[in-house]
Amino acid sequence: MLNSFTLRFLTLTIFWLGLLVLKLSNMLESHFFSLAAVFSILIFLGAALEVYLGYAGDRYLIPVVQTLLAIGLVLLIRINPSLAQDQFIWANMGLVIFYLVLFGLRDYRKLEQYQYIWGLAALALLLVTLLFGVSVHGATSWIKIGSRGFQPEELVKVVLLLFMAAYLNSNRELLRVGTIQVGRISLPDRKTLGPFAFICIIVLALLAAQKSLGTALVFFLLMIFIVYMVTERLFYLAMSVPVILLMGTAGYILFGHVRVRVATWLNPWIDSTVGGFQIAQSIFAISGGRLLGTGLGNGIGAYQIPLAESDFIFSVIAEEIGFFGSMAVITLFVVLVLRALAIGAKASDRFGQILAAGIGILIGLEVIIILAGVTKMLPLTGLPLPWVSYGGNSLIIHFILLGLLTNISHNSSFSMSEVRIGKRVGVYE
């Protein structure tokens, strides 16, 4: 097995190689050296901390995420140096918060008891956003505190996952078997399904009301997948298809900008200077990358695509490091999602299983939906690419999710026999 230090070394090699290429192209201002040095030291300190405290969880998760983060940082320097400077600070903060969650949260299991608090917190966060939020790029998803902005829907990802994991764990059997028979299908009764359905529907409605359609789509699919995973009933999965069609049609009729999205998705070239601009420019950038890419710093997408630093960062990756490079990034995400699902399968308790797999599903959905959007395979719904796109909110929240994931992995790494003899395991002393 590869030593965790070796993997960190590999990650940082990729990072510094990227910086070197930017330096050769005169695209690296010198103050980035100190930022990059701090970041590199933090990564090694983290690895040292893992060894010192005896981290026994998944070995690959952390290096994979750090590699994605490093790739994102290099690209952001290339796309917009002043944003990259912020992102370095977020990245360093994210790493610290990640280790706090991993080692500070002694046992994730105690999070289960607050299930309704999580559910209500999700509603409260979204309600506050709807009432006091400001509109950015058409969606009312930001709350301004002084000069800083905060995006509650990112935090909702964490609390909603905790709620769902806790709720589904305690009601799994009833959801699975059902108590009411409708024809050949048995459905759970209102008491079992009620609270869960209530919170999910209100969350989706609030997201739709604030026009965060991408996040709404991710949450909806997340709910369906988690319920399907827990109950293993195809019925729940099949049910999502007509619901998606219905919601999509409703959205198409209700929201003008959904109609624009669909129209520009079907034909971005007609209006490539106005409405279809983003998606057409994204495709021009991606197609210009071909197999090997234009080379870091040589693409046009970084200048041409609006939001190249956030929603469309993958288009810049695909252009500048080509098909092979973007496949490498996709592979990192696939590894990440599959490791998360594997942790879910191996977790020692059901709450942990649902939570870990749920985190994996969430990340998988976010990545798939934004990648399908920028490659014109689905209508575009704006979402940041986890750990790669610019944005402190998304970065910190995903580090909290990674913290929970590794915490579950660590706590599940001890055999049941050790637990049975009453040994305190998985708890950092």
Binding site: A280, F284, S287, G295, K376
Partner: protein, 474 residues
Amino acid sequence: MFMSSGIQKIALIIVFSFIFISFGLLYWQVVNADTMLDNPANRRAVLLESRIERGGIYDRNGIVLAQTKQTEKGKVRVYPHGEMFQPLLGYATVKYGSAGLEATEAANLLGMKEKSLVKKMQNTFELPRQGNDLILTLDTRLQEVAYEKLKGKAGAVVGLDPRNGEVLVLVSQPSFDGNTIVEDWDEIVNRQGSPMLNHAFAKYPPGSIMKVVTSAALFRSDFDTTELYSCQGFTIINGQTISEQNHKAHGWVNYDLALAYSCNNYFAEFGVKAGDKSFLQAAAGFGFGQSIPFDIQIPSSSITRDDPLPDKLSLNLFAASTFGQGQVMVSPFHMALITAGVANEGKIMVPRLIDRVLDSQHNIIYNYKPEVWLEALNREEADKVKSAMVLAVNEGTAAPGAIPGVQIAAKTGSAEPGGDQSTHAWYIAFAPADNPVIALAVLVENGGTGGGAAAPIAKAVIEKALELKEGVNQ
């Protein structure tokens, strides 16, 4: 185990979604990469330019025709000769895109046509990049003469070296100044006479110069072209009256005299005798209905409006086509190639405008070699046409282009464009007749007769070409 099969199925769904996205990437990055580059809204080439220094364009003697200069205001594209080489060179602007050679040779000028991997690697890391230089086959000294003569009129002058297809002169009028294209855009676009259109590549009715093509059909028939025919000034074929210019009766003419005097009746009568198949075959042999292998796209010359090269012609249309009326349309550039074919023993060479491409270290990247495009005539046929064209200069309609001391071969054309407009004046010529160094076609739109309007221009260019040739020989 609890939900393990659920997790497995979810994992499969996610992995398949990622595979689906990979295929999406392949679709854009491999299958459709070139299609997207051609999309007019794609500003890749224009934007890359901001970081690449566009290479220069030079004439055959190294005289600058287009160059990028660094000024306080940034990079500026300079055309030292103003409108003389336009619209052939074209323009390359961020605001209005690009046209002409600047557009068709953008890959070369921007250095993006690198074949070697080493060069590719170098380019990835080396900024700013330097584009490649184009060395054209044009000769500025000839261009100058043709430009001065044609200035103020509408039309084109195209001159080639018939032996190797090198384009020596290519003038189109009216034209525009590439230096001020952005400032004057609106005015230029609205100016009379389509200055953006390269008149050398536009199509016109050829009139009597088409008789050179028809000649091939006559030679390949079983009648004797030395036999005499009595021209009455008009003849009626299938109820259609074919008349001579100014209703002049040429009297007794054989093939040579008919071409020299530009006798429509002779070519209509014998052309019809030879048959439409033979005529169309001859036209195909000269490149009608075919795309000309050239760096710039040129519309192919056509026999009828509906079909550039039909299988058969109605008798009336056929009779008119034999002397270049009817629906026959040809570009001055193609006409120069046809003339060069006659001059070069019947072989039309592939026309070449770009002699070589040099990279920023002056290594030759591309070097073009002469190639035969078409064998329009055999040697004997070419000789027959040539002696008739010599006769046209010495005794016939092409006399205004004659040069003392040098035998040239030429043919005039006065093509009716239709309506009440005056005729397009054509003059095709090559010189010296026995050892040609230049073949050219001159067109003056609505200029009147070929001998009157076009011949003096051709004469001046040929004189200059011969003078330069002697200069080299000495």
